[in-house]
Symmetry: D2
Subunit: 385 residues, 4 copies
Amino acid sequence: MQSRIKFGMVGGGEGAFIGEIHRMAARLDNHYELVAGAFSSEAERSRRSAKTLGISADRSYGDFQEMAEKEQSRSDGIEAVVIVTPNHLHLRIAEIFLKAGIHVICDKPLSASLEEAQSFAEFASKSDKIFALTYNYSGYPIVRHARALIAQGELGDLRTVQIEYAQDWLSEKLEDSGHKQAAWRTDPEQGGQGGLLGDIGTHAFHLSSFVSGLQPTEILADLNHFVEGRVLDDNAHILLRFSGGAKGMLWVSQVAPGNENGLRLRIYGSKAGIEWSQENPNYLKFSPLGKPSQILGRGSPELAESAAKVTRTPPGHPEGYIEGFANIYTEIAQAVYAAREGKPVPQDVLFPDLEDGIAGMFFIEAALESSRNDGRWTGIAGTGI
Amino acid sequence: MQSRIKFGMVGGGEGAFIGEIHRMAARLDNHYELVAGAFSSEAERSRRSAKTLGISADRSYGDFQEMAEKEQSRSDGIEAVVIVTPNHLHLRIAEIFLKAGIHVICDKPLSASLEEAQSFAEFASKSDKIFALTYNYSGYPIVRHARALIAQGELGDLRTVQIEYAQDWLSEKLEDSGHKQAAWRTDPEQGGQGGLLGDIGTHAFHLSSFVSGLQPTEILADLNHFVEGRVLDDNAHILLRFSGGAKGMLWVSQVAPGNENGLRLRIYGSKAGIEWSQENPNYLKFSPLGKPSQILGRGSPELAESAAKVTRTPPGHPEGYIEGFANIYTEIAQAVYAAREGKPVPQDVLFPDLEDGIAGMFFIEAALESSRNDGRWTGIAGTGI
Amino acid sequence: MQSRIKFGMVGGGEGAFIGEIHRMAARLDNHYELVAGAFSSEAERSRRSAKTLGISADRSYGDFQEMAEKEQSRSDGIEAVVIVTPNHLHLRIAEIFLKAGIHVICDKPLSASLEEAQSFAEFASKSDKIFALTYNYSGYPIVRHARALIAQGELGDLRTVQIEYAQDWLSEKLEDSGHKQAAWRTDPEQGGQGGLLGDIGTHAFHLSSFVSGLQPTEILADLNHFVEGRVLDDNAHILLRFSGGAKGMLWVSQVAPGNENGLRLRIYGSKAGIEWSQENPNYLKFSPLGKPSQILGRGSPELAESAAKVTRTPPGHPEGYIEGFANIYTEIAQAVYAAREGKPVPQDVLFPDLEDGIAGMFFIEAALESSRNDGRWTGIAGTGI
Amino acid sequence: MQSRIKFGMVGGGEGAFIGEIHRMAARLDNHYELVAGAFSSEAERSRRSAKTLGISADRSYGDFQEMAEKEQSRSDGIEAVVIVTPNHLHLRIAEIFLKAGIHVICDKPLSASLEEAQSFAEFASKSDKIFALTYNYSGYPIVRHARALIAQGELGDLRTVQIEYAQDWLSEKLEDSGHKQAAWRTDPEQGGQGGLLGDIGTHAFHLSSFVSGLQPTEILADLNHFVEGRVLDDNAHILLRFSGGAKGMLWVSQVAPGNENGLRLRIYGSKAGIEWSQENPNYLKFSPLGKPSQILGRGSPELAESAAKVTRTPPGHPEGYIEGFANIYTEIAQAVYAAREGKPVPQDVLFPDLEDGIAGMFFIEAALESSRNDGRWTGIAGTGI
């Protein structure tokens, strides 16, 4: 067994949702140990969070710059940092830690603007440290199996990709009621111009590429904000074209009552179709043309190796959101272990990286541009998968 | 009890699917009696069908023109005709029967071209006979309830309408294998340029207007035919804009393996959302914002009057496709009964009519135009509901 | 085409539920014509019903005895009678019509007491007329397919049969509020001692034998009435043993809130399992051991011949309760057509008959006896399938 | 934050399933630290497991007796032990550790025999250490909500409880093929006479009491082993009677193809019914009589406090088996923290304890006795909840 990866966290203090998710994901397989943090831009709040989390006082920082410096200079300094701040801070922080020789695990989307993302990418390409991005939905075992089915040709030539990510929690103007999560997500400064595209659209976009293996080439978007007084979009209707001729449709909404976290993916090819829904994530419907549909369970003996190895429990013992997230963390750990020995990221780990992050920013940018142009097909570059 | 409506049928002979559906729908509530027919353009085939159906030999016609003339001249001649031929013949036949003073029940879509539809509409507007179009999916009781919920304001201001109609039976080039249904539907001459838009897209389009009460104003389409060698489209990705500001998304496909007859409708407003799927048509998911989702059953005591009155069985005793279809037929019968007394179509019957048919043709035309223009937003007129 | 079967009806007048279901089932495939009736024991009510149904005044009877006599003496008299009265009248009426040479279609259960049923069986065995019993749930196409799968050995040796039929409509003392359906069903005089066993338990019991092909040999029952003041049972917990060693469990309830008409059947063998629910009756879950579960649809190309031939619509066009009921009627018609030519009931029709009715009465009797004996295993005879 | 609980583990080495589940559950909320273990009765195997788990060599034991002694004598010795051996060893080990002043977390069922369980209970009642039993399914948030609904009277007077726990993995004689999990579970020496009752039946039995709050008084069982050559039962059909008059039905099977881990609970009262299935554990169907059924989600704002506090993620982000298990662990930690200060187990923690374990053993014993007596109602004592 490798020694655990000591890590720190920027953001994710009291009242944050995603910070604790990252911590649970890091703990689940026992590859990580949280030892430092700048949990909030408010020093007192950061300290309280650190105490609650059992971080020693001298490693509770009020400022990420200070944290990077001090940790870099310690012999037992952190080996990785997790960034779970509002979007506009991601890359400023990431750059500092990479420079300090510390691996970076960054929450999505990559940044609040494409410009910043591109300039960061130029810098990061020269770093030998790991940069991982937590598009966590790609960590579900059965999602991995779907990817394998398509890669093996079980669906034949892909024809259409139907993706959607629908929520309802922003159906009213929650940001006016002091709801912290709603506030920064609907503020262009902190969340970026993308609004819901950055918040959840990039998840859907990444997932569809991850599973289908298709390269998007053009996008057409009709973006709307339905809640009066809201600046950023809360609903997106998007068409996609992929290289090779497949087409796609993407619906993203945060104003669809009855949808809690409705990320759903359906892909149809000449030989078969698949359907998957994040809210019941252990099953995949697989429909070979002309034959009865099958319900493939995470944990079945027929699972692809790439799916089976990220599975923890027997069939019928449901794995959920945290387990999927933890799979990303564990794969990052495998890359860190390899890095300790000077080796590159192993071939068979599939955690999202900078390239995926850039692709997401191009997606947001192209969608905004298409919508500004009243729904003109707009080229989408850089979306390597 | 009114005396039953004697009717004849054009098309729908041996090997046809939809003809027998119409006959079952007509029989279910005992308002109709089939007494004449020109079931096929092949005389011998027509005669065989008539015999099987118990039609007397002198009312089995080889030709619809002849049928109209002879029936018009009989004292016990038919009061209505059902047209279930390929699309391009619908209106030629309808015109003849209307001229003969016979009510017309026509299968969808209205016609194979908008031009022909408009010219027919001009003629028909002067007729005092009934012209009904069997967009049958609007006949399901719980669809009626959904319409009532929205009309009563239970969903608040409508924001987005997500419609889809996906099938898989044309995933391969079935039309080359002598499959009659596939052959005429994929032939522009018989089915029209609309391809799958005419065959199933108009169903979805009508249903979304029927339930939402929204008036579509603009459409943007990306149409494709994925099966090699096919002339007409077999997949359509469409965006919609409605008057009042709501937006919509419509997916129509006949090449999506695992989808048998997947007509699904979801509508979201500021106060609640609804979801319905034709394949399990007795239930509606109703999600008031911030409250648990409810499963509304056809047959529940809370059902709207307009839904309850088209319901035949107690809760939990599923009604299906034929019952929904029969509801349209029974409502047409009520209009015929009214007509017998010189009265107009009753206010509370909701069967689709010529206006709905024209709307469907505008929809097809606008979608084709938008797609030809690489997905330009295109105005859609005449879609009164 | 054979000439339609002229039939009459006893019971099923105004306010009845099941009478209209029988009439719709009879109409759907056009094998029957309703020409006479004694729709109610109240003469005026019977006359009103007849008028509504378009029955000529001279064939509207106030009394079933009179109806049998007069119809027998007409040259155009009825060929069959449908009995939809409360249970205790079924066999008294059946006997009169059989004696008059008229085929009998009787609603379930056979009677209100085993004694009466046995004495009738003795009489009926000497009649050459058809006696059919409408355990209608055996008419669903996919139920037929399930039966075929088991008969073909696809499940291997059967091990356990889990059946349930749960409703909620008698959760309160509806019979006190003037609800006609509730009143006679909870009255031992009219419904029989069996209470819910007669009303819905026999449906479940018949279905499990029909599909499994298993012969029940012993039964153990714990019967209860939960609603205060109710005389008959409204909940039954039953264990079953079948010849050959399979075991079963049967739950019947009319006091289970949230269950509308929850008839569900699951059968497990050494090689596979199946699951079916009446409320979504077009699909069967088929789970071959060690392989993914399959969703078999009514209308799939792989359907057994016995299922395909009772299917009316393509895949994805749901058939419901009335269609299943109509399948029983159409099979009875095939037997009547055979009888016209002096031929026996065709081998391939599967409508339930007197033997099934007697089996149901034995089931009720044995369950009551077992429960009186505090749940002693009790032999169950005469349950030929 | 309290300092983490140092714990050791007996059993759960290489190839074990449940050991790693316990470790993940212990890690998730960061209340525990694994520092010692006797992971296998084979010394070499135990050592390998310890090494893999990062346990220092001097705390890797070949023998649990030795482990208890040495840990007791260390100043940094373990505060708790987790027992995940075959059933027949549970209490022998528990006794040793309790005597050593170490809290015990024991996998279910309590033991392989009632006799041993009772004698242990006598001993344990004198210990001031915690004894917790991991009936983990009671840890799901929505299960807690179901319990709260019933406790608050939302279901009215309870009438019937339908429980089932069906699996298929023992449909063939897996124990002959060297499958370790199957081997000990089907061996009366190691698993106990209860067979599947001990393995999964006690889970279902505990869950039904936990949620319903009902006290079982009598049981009637028909137990079977269907797989040829198997000594222990692999299918159980059970009826239950509860104090207060409610009745129940329990099906337990390991030979039902298509059932992966099918633990399902349905409870019906005079005012409402609930339904829950472990395989999609984040939702509860709640059906108030005469109103539409509701889908209650884990994470909804209306959740009972007792459920909300064991919830980690927002609505629609599914929590699974490990999270439910971890809730039990975290509640045990709260009891350990209380014990550190000499306080009793807090009132609001709900982890199963010795009393629940004894109840499960009485359940097994009574079921075996009833079945031996051909299904006689048999009293079931000691099942306090």
